[in-house]
Symmetry: C2
Subunit: 232 residues, 2 copies
């Protein structure tokens, strides 16, 4: 809370909020870009598609996420954004962003923090897909999203979280097929590690799940941490 003036400036810069149903597209890949979004509530995801239709989930967006702006001077989005649940977005034109950054250093710091954090999230996913086996990838994704949703580390036995993902989406995020994701979820269930059914995750054996995810030690803090900048 850096004061009423800052908040007023933000209010002045933003356009009306957007309300989206699940599955709605915020923007398409290759669409021209000139606004930034702030996810107020709900979940969303960024995806990148190849010309032949194969699709990769780049990252999942939880409330508070900032997304949309492309490197300035680049005209087109390199990814698409899609709502996973009913979602509310705050929309800020690029000029508004620039003005806010210039006048409110804390806003600028926070924005940069968000972007750097998102890069680290993507890095973790990259390592997961490049180096882990199928069951490890699924375990990693479930752990990441559970911790981000719960904002807590470590996970405890019995923890339950709603994760608004279909098995197809998990497949697109892990680089597996939906069929194989199904098999891996069944295995986690049969091994009494975790249950993911009807878009709810229940952790049965947190230690086993974390062992499968084999996290680098610095990631949990990143997932559960909040911005050190209090603006907005």
């Amino acid at each position: 809370m850096r004061g009423a003036a800052a908040l007023a400036a933000l209010e002045a810069a933003r356009k009306p909020a957007r309300y989206l149903p699940p599955g709605a597209i915020v923007y398409h890949q290759e669409e021209p870009d000139d606004v930034a979004f702030n996810l107020i509530s709900g979940w969303a995801m960024l995806t990148q598609s190849l010309p032949d239709g194969r699709r990769q989930v780049l990252r999942f967006l939880l409330p508070g996420a900032v997304f949309g702006p492309t490197p300035q001077g680049q005209a087109l989005h390199g990814s698409a954004a899609e709502a996973l649940t009913p979602a509310v977005l705050c929309v800020i034109p690029r000029e508004g962003m620039t003005a806010l950054r210039r006048h409110w250093p804390e806003f600028d710091d926070r924005l940069m923090w968000c972007i750097e954090r998102d890069a680290e999230l993507a890095a973790g996913l990259l390592t997961s897909i490049g180096q882990r086996t199928a069951i490890e990838r699924v375990a990693y994704l479930l752990v990441e999203l559970a911790m981000r949703a719960l904002r807590r580390f470590p996970l405890r036995n019995g923890d339950t979280v709603a994760l608004p993902l279909t098995q197809t989406v998990i497949a697109e995020a892990t680089g597996l097929t939906a069929v194989h994701v199904n098999r891996m979820l069944r295995e986690l269930r049969q091994r009494q590690v975790a249950i993911f059914l009807q878009r709810r995750l229940t952790v049965l054996d947190a230690a086993a799940l974390l062992a499968l995810a084999s996290l680098p030690p610095e990631l949990p803090a990143l997932w559960t941490g909040t911005s050190p900048f209090s603006f907005a």
Copy 2:
């Protein structure tokens, strides 16, 4: 070139440059962080390792790259940086970065541009590893690095570039094994698409190579483009 004053400020903020031989580690994963680096000359890479030693290349750094700063408030690096060639680094402490950002908006813009661009590079790699087959991944990586090194699109038949990569490094960047990378390079050679030997790439059939890489249309501009901000 935003003027002598800005350059002088940068000079004042930076520490002595670092000169590194190939293979030198700039910083380790989980090392505390409080400086940013600017790669003056040479190539380097960022990697992330799992507890059991598996390693993923997150991105390749070419001259001009900015790297090192972690999201503020996070103590530890989530990745390691390693020189691939003899390299010269400009070292700027975090306080210096903050001061420069505050006083020179163009510096701030350029920094944010670099970070956003790097995120897009990582996104492309993520899609590649998640969705492409082995030979496509190798083709994609070669195309990306060739275009970034040449700063030109499209590639032409006969183009030759030095890429300071061992097959092991290509393997770590593509999520394949070094043995399989070797087979894919042989196949590219036998199919008369491209030759990669002794760390030099020669493009024989640019159209075929690009078809294998199946690039989303917005990426080439990103690879060959330079920052719209002229500071420093």
